[in-house]
């Protein structure tokens, strides 16, 4: 013993400090609710985190329109949209589980950092139970990780990278949108018919997770046809000017240019490629062609006549004739005076699917919702029968192959459906090499 003189006061003081120190961590762990942000009042809040600025802003704004519409329909306002065509009849238009639906919005600026900050504020300040949104897979992956840690559900809207439900998949995250692998699988047969099996492809790729996986997927499926990949070049997101990337294509010996770009970037790169006269060229005795694997109406609108005859794929298009699509297009058109884009459709459907899953589970608890959504099979939300696979939280359904319309009749009628690729053709195993490496983990209710 080295301490000899222990005074009464000293002992008391030390004891009190020690006790305080030991008790300190426990006040941080006590919790009143069973899961993060358990709604206790008469309303429930959802968070819609979309890019309102940056290269994907157009898509983000359209997503926001659809979210607003979905909330209206859930609360029983408006004409109810797809609630009447949805195969699950749980939603009555009285909110979710009788609670009125409210929402908050945030601007992700198409940056992972900002998106996470915005999602944090939604979860911590506004108390949302579900975050939806996206428009960039980098952002979606980052926000999905955050939601997993915080214990809320993430209903990914626009994210097309294989990684979202591949190596970065999370138990609390769900994706309705299709992915790069499916685009490749759906496009390959059409491309083979249109352009033959002896082509030389040049890729320009957005330099982040989505671009990387789309390049990988398209490369794999075109090379399976017998195409040769001349070169793959990565370009920064939001570059604005792509001329320095397009000029080398002219002398590369390639006869197909594949643009793994999206949003404003795709509009710019396609427009510049056309201005460089690529499409009027003859290479290797064939017409030079351009392919945009992932299409959207908003991009088509932005690119104008440059997309005529350009092939691409889509998750959904407003020209489909099923009752779900018609109901949605009608109520969207009535509110906003324009047809919805594919990103709007995904956002709307994800919100409805979440609300339905909560209703079927009878709780907002993320683990209940996860259980209700896993291996859920439904119909009536556009594009036919759909299956939410439990193994990776990816939806499986038909995929559309599109072509830029040769004679558009109005500014919205810019794309035409070439083929509806059946679901069986785009399915893959959960442990497919392009998706391997991740762990779904367990659902996290937080708190």
């Amino acid at each position: 013993m080295s301490i000899k003189n222990i005074s009464r006061r000293g002992l008391l003081r030390t004891g009190a400090v020690t006790a305080g120190g030991l008790a300190l961590p426990t006040i941080f762990t006590s919790s009143a609710s069973a899961y993060t942000n358990e709604p206790t009042g008469s309303s429930v809040k959802l968070g819609f985190n979309v890019p309102q600025t940056g290269p994907y802003a157009e898509e983000g704004l359209d997503e926001l329109r659809a979210f607003e519409l979905a909330v209206e329909h859930l609360n029983g306002e408006g004409d109810g949209g797809m609630l009447s065509t949805f195969s699950s009849k749980e939603l009555q238009g009285n909110g979710i589980l009788g609670k009125k639906v409210e929402f908050v919005t945030g601007d992700t600026q198409t940056k992972s950092d900002v998106a996470r900050t915005s999602a944090q504020s939604m979860i911590q300040k506004d108390g949302v139970v579900m975050v939806s949104g996206g428009s960039s897979s980098g952002v979606a992956v980052a926000v999905q990780g955050l939601c997993q840690e915080a214990g809320v559900i993430f209903m990914a809207a626009l994210t097309h990278s294989n990684d979202t439900t591949g190596k970065d998949k999370k138990a609390n995250g769900f994706r309705y949108f299709f992915n790069a692998y499916m685009s490749g699988a759906a496009l390959a047969p059409v491309l083979s018919n249109a352009y033959g099996n002896e082509r030389r492809a040049y890729h320009l790729t957005a330099d982040y997770t989505w671009g990387w996986t789309q390049e990988e997927s398209i490369k794999a499926s075109t090379e399976a046809l017998g195409w040769e990949t001349v070169e793959t070049v990565r370009t920064p997101v939001g570059a604005g000017d792509f001329s320095s990337y397009i000029a080398p294509v002219l002398n590369s010996g390639a006869d197909v240019l594949i643009l793994n770009h999206y949003g404003g970037d795709m509009v710019n790169s396609l427009t510049q490629a056309v201005q460089f006269g690529l499409r009027d060229k003859q290479v290797n005795g064939k017409n030079f062609e351009i392919i945009v694997p992932l299409y959207s109406e908003l991009m088509a609108e932005g690119a104008g006549s440059n997309i005529q005859g350009v092939y691409g794929s889509m998750n959904w298009n407003w020209q489909l004739q099923d009752p779900g699509t018609q109901a949605f297009v009608q109520s969207f058109g009535k509110k906003y005076g324009r047809p919805p884009s594919g990103s709007a459709h995904t956002s709307y459907v994800q919100t409805l699917l979440y609300a339905d899953a909560v209703t079927r589970a009878g709780t907002f608890n993320p683990c209940g919702v996860v259980e209700a959504l896993e291996d859920f099979e439904f119909d009536g939300l556009g594009i036919g029968n759909t299956y939410y696979r439990g193994a990776d939280h990816q939806c499986f359904k038909d995929v559309l192959v599109m072509k830029g319309a040769d004679n558009p009749t109005n500014q919205y009628d810019t794309l035409e459906i070439v083929e509806v690729t059946p679901r069986s053709q785009v399915e893959y195993e959960p442990d497919h090499p392009m998706f391997a490496g991740g762990e779904l983990g367990e659902c996290n209710p937080g708190a």
Binding site: K125, P236, V237, E439
Partner: protein, 395 residues
């Protein structure tokens, strides 16, 4: 106290009290009221107040004292973030090695960049630092993708080695902690409608920011600080007296770079993700704005400026058109749409416009920043009470 004179001790104590009571101060409105929109007392934002406050304190040591305007401090923030996320991946989820690595690595970067840039002064120095920061950003964004994971951002994964932590026990991602105290742990107290959140992460950042503030206070009062001020007032004259000022400016540059790196490390400790956008020139400009809005060369100014800008960013950007509609619903229909349309330009994604207007107003009317505003108010009150005292002489 702690080598401070009585006045500074009092100042320091006030700062400590303000920092500890932040969860109360930032939540002045009841959680259910319409004004709850303006509450800022949630962990993520409070953490940012402390972190960017720390960064601005460090920036002020360079800009406020020597007058060298660096436009590249975001690079150190980013480097610090990457360094600490790599520590989380390789060593341990404990924040201590991460923060040490963040500070050291950014110090090395600052030494290299400062050594070159400080050969010039004035606008040339600013442009040089800007160029270096932009270089770092471009490197992190594309060339160094194996290290930084490019646009997607560097994140921790389950399969990381983390040699000090041993094998993962659960299938969910680990969270950064301070010897078992999780950074994302929080406790909420509800008092009669108000709801206050106390988070471990915030108090951890706050303690580090306070240490940073104390160090900066000591530097301000030290002979070294006096030398830095001399550089600002007349460097030429200093050189003519045979004194080489560069070691002093370089030291100030490295110190402020380390502050920024530490701030970056804290950002990663609160949320283990590092993105290249953190290094973009807009982020560098932000810290300059913070310092100027708050008051250049004052101790408290940069912290206030950081709080002001982060508040605008997080609160104004969350107000959307439907919120505005609910505010102005009492107006007649046509008028309401017009008013909403006008206000909508300044909130939501237009919050930058609000910030720009505020910045112009402050620079024009309060060149000394928010601190000068506070001083003027205090002076006016004093004058008034003096005048009152003169009117009614004591009996």
């Amino acid at each position: 106290m702690l080598g401070l004179n009585a006045k500074d001790s009092r100042f320091m104590l006030i700062v400590v009290a303000l920092t500890l009571l932040t969860p109360f101060i930032l939540n002045p409105f009841p959680a259910d009221s319409a004004l709850a929109q303006f509450n800022a007392g949630y962990p993520a934002l409070m953490q940012r107040f402390a972190i960017y406050g720390l960064m601005a304190i460090g920036f002020n040591i360079l800009f406020g004292l020597t007058g060298y305007l660096s436009f590249g401090h975001a690079a150190f923030l980013g480097v610090g973030s990457y360094a600490s996320v790599w520590m989380f991946k390789l060593l341990s989820m404990n924040v201590i090695p991460a923060l040490i690595a963040a500070t050291l690595v950014s110090g090395v970067f600052a030494l290299a960049i400062g050594y070159v840039s400080l050969r010039r002064s004035g606008i040339y120095f600013s442009i040089l630092t800007l160029a270096f920061a932009e270089m770092c950003y471009r490197l992190a964004y594309s060339v160094l993708t194996p290290i930084t994971n490019g646009e997607t951002g560097l994140q921790i994964t389950l399969s990381d080695p983390r040699i000090l932590d041993g094998a993962p026990t659960s299938s969910s991602l680990p969270t950064p902690g301070f010897f078992g105290l999780k950074m994302n742990a929080a406790h909420t107290i509800d008092i009669a409608g108000w709801s206050f959140t106390f988070s471990v992460g915030y108090y951890f950042c706050a303690v580090i920011a306070l240490i940073g503030f104390y160090l900066s206070l000591r530097i301000f009062r030290s002979p070294f600080g006096m030398m830095l001020r001399a550089v600002k007032s007349n460097q030429q004259r200093m050189n003519y007296t045979g004194l080489n000022s560069r070691p002093y400016t370089l030291a100030a540059f490295v110190i402020s770079g380390m502050y920024a790196g530490l701030a970056g490390g804290l950002l990663a400790a609160m949320d283990p993700l590092a993105g290249a956008e953190r290094m973009q020139w807009t982020a560098s400009g932000e810290v300059v704005l913070m310092t100027i809005v708050g008051g250049v060369g004052t101790l408290m100014g940069p912290v206030l400026g950081a709080g002001f800008i982060k508040y605008c960013e997080n609160i104004f950007s969350k107000i959307n058109e439907s919120v505005l509609h609910s505010w102005f619903s009492f107006l007649p229909d046509g008028v309401e749409d017009v008013v909403t349309w006008i206000f909508a330009r300044f909130v939501g994604e237009g919050w930058h416009l609000t910030l720009g207007v505020m910045f112009m107003l402050i620079v024009t009317f309060l060149p000394g920043g928010l601190v000068e505003g506070g001083k003027r108010l205090a002076a006016r009150r004093k004058k008034k009470s003096d005048a009152d005292a003169a009117k009614h002489p004591a009996e």
